[in-house]
Symmetry: none
Subunit: 230 residues, 4 copies
């Protein structure tokens, strides 16, 4: 089990998905980081439960165990909390997904692993996933002003795999990678949203991952998919 797996397998996400950026050197620094983390963790919960607009800063503060005003020492405003949750977590998610994908030897297996890893994240971090999928869209500042590279970078993991596959002749060259990446992401997103709204799932996301992967791999590979020897 490596560093990443701890994160992904943890059953109590709040304790792990906001991490300490630097090695703690002093108790003060540590306390500071704690406070920031606690606010972000609390925000994830409240956003997930209430939605962005109905989430009250006061409630986030209460859940984080800090004063209302303290939040504004760490974040410019409510929108920024949301955006930072997204950016910081995406950074981690991207690193993790990249590492997972790299463990596979060929493009098709990498795509399959991507799909598996994406839905595993949703399963392990449902509240965070809900914030990513539903609440982010409620912030005007996010949708209209945010030109976040994180999301693009995440999508590009798929895009690059597609391009790589096209270069190797494994993936049909008549498809736009930019479209494929969005189509796959959209499919995963919708499956995940449905699972989340069903109160964390009556059905098996792992099974869904296999089906989605199958559909896309068959759909985009150049030949009738002989996955084993791409």
């Amino acid at each position: 089990m490596n560093a990443h797996s701890f994160f992904w397998e943890c059953e109590s996400p709040p304790q792990c998905f906001i991490r300490q950026k630097f090695t703690r050197r002093t108790a003060d620094l540590s306390a500071k980081q704690d406070k920031r983390s606690r606010i972000l963790q609390a925000a994830v919960k409240v956003f997930a439960e209430k939605g962005f607009y109905n989430a009250k800063v006061a409630e986030i503060a209460r859940k984080a165990g800090v004063a209302d005003g303290t939040i504004y020492l760490y974040f410019k405003n409510k929108d920024e909390i949301l955006i930072l949750i997204f950016e910081e977590e995406m950074e981690r998610v991207i690193a993790h997904v990249r590492a997972e994908v790299e463990q596979e030897g060929n493009v098709v297996a990498k795509l399959r692993r991507f799909v598996q890893t994406h839905l595993k994240f949703v399963r392990k971090n449902p509240k965070l996933a809900q914030v990513f999928q539903l609440e982010l869209r409620q912030s005007n500042k996010f949708i209209k002003e945010y030109t976040g590279s994180s999301l693009k970078e995440y999508l590009n993991i798929i895009g690059q795999l597609v391009e790589e596959g096209q270069a190797k002749g494994v993936i049909r060259t008549d498809l736009h990678p930019g479209l494929v990446k969005r189509a796959l992401f959209g499919a995963l997103d919708e499956i995940a949203t449905h699972w989340l709204l069903l109160k964390n799932g009556r059905y098996d996301l792992n099974q869904s991952a296999e089906e989605i992967a199958d559909i896309f791999i068959r759909g985009i590979t150049a030949e009738p998919p002989h996955e084993q020897h791409s």
Copy 2:
């Protein structure tokens, strides 16, 4: 050009997507319908531009050319406006999509037509599409209380095609129709959202439709897709 095509091809959506339910018999009825329609049309615009929470009832009223209070003669509250936009339009969209799909002779062609029709709607009614895709999720009442059959019904158009295809041996039986329908819908939704956020499109949604259709049809059909003789 039939009745439907007028709707789908119109370049000024507001004038056509809210229709008169009954043949106008008196000027009064007409005026009344006009007012209700104008409010809904105005709401679509404002919701699309500002988002649900930042949309002010006063602005909807101004855009509709009515007084603030008038809105409450036709709708119970702001949430209800959103929900009614959705319900009334979905009803139409479903009927239209069904009619389009029925014009094709086989399951695969029907799926392709579904994809084409979906993205055509987005292209022709961008603001409405944006409300469907983004703003609806901002209304708590919508997300948490609305068990809308409209959306389910829409998804079921795909679901039924999949089941039909599976029965006929055209579509792989190892896939869950419930998953396929969401995966396809999610893919289309994501493509559409991206196109909408790009300020109505630098690229060709028609082309995207073909690619998406190709991917899914290849992905879910039982044999290497010989689309022509399903």
Copy 3:
């Protein structure tokens, strides 16, 4: 049974306490009067049930079976309805109470009869009484602008009896009639209000009338009360 007794004894007050001012000459006039009456009757009910400020003009209209706007053909505004209910009814009440009181031969018996008649009215017309006692005080226009002579006139029935009694040596001359009349009226009002708020009475207002009368007659008569030969 005379004309008055019909009014006072009626068990369904709404039908009788708003009367036709003039002999009907035409059906139109009659209809007109009906409409005005119906509005006043409806207003009494709604004011009594909801209180003046929470009474909606639209509800009065609905209960009266007329359109909202129609009310403004008969009354200047909501306050005026209240004031006119008061004035018109007080006119009748005063006439009735005077007639009752005149049937008695001496001042003390007249006072006793006043008390009895007042509480009998409350018992027979609880909604109207409630409007008189509670809702009238909610209308600013009533309290601050109304220099109604009706109420003064009603109070003066007592005041005149007191003065008459003082002139005849039956009532102590060290009391101000202006104070006695208010004290007695206030006592009756409080008893009535309590009875009304108790949902029209667990206890016997007739008995209360006798006690109140006893207290005041003893309290204000010059000699130990020999009521029989004043």
Copy 4:
């Protein structure tokens, strides 16, 4: 002059009728109490001037020198301000009246003192008295939901005196204490209201107190009133 007399004699009621509950220990506590007090004081004024329904929260805030929102840090809503004014003041009034009454040696003198004290309060705190008498009845929540023990307790001061008098044979036993207390209270209330509406009095409330007391004492005592040796 004792602690109470300061309250009752003060010429600037607002400064005294909202008191500091605890000895101030810190400036913070003091400021907090001040703010709450200032709001209540301002509310009394505005309610008295405008009536409950026409009193605007914004005006109370302005008069109290706080922001609109601050009021909601101390009170749940407008109705609660009214109810708390009533409850907190009644508590004080009851204590004061009890203390006054206890200074007298016999039931008759106690009743007289009650009457004097009641009207003295009205004279010294006209705005508060007006709120008690007029505005409280405008709040639906007050009338319909408030089962205030304060008012009952106040009325019971009279009721207990009457019972005590009956037990001692001083007061007629054929009278219901529950009726006597309401009759006396109603009489005082009406006198007070009239005095208040006359813009704080053309006539002498002290004189009125003596007359009211005389009437009731004569009216309810068992023997021709020889007040001196009850």
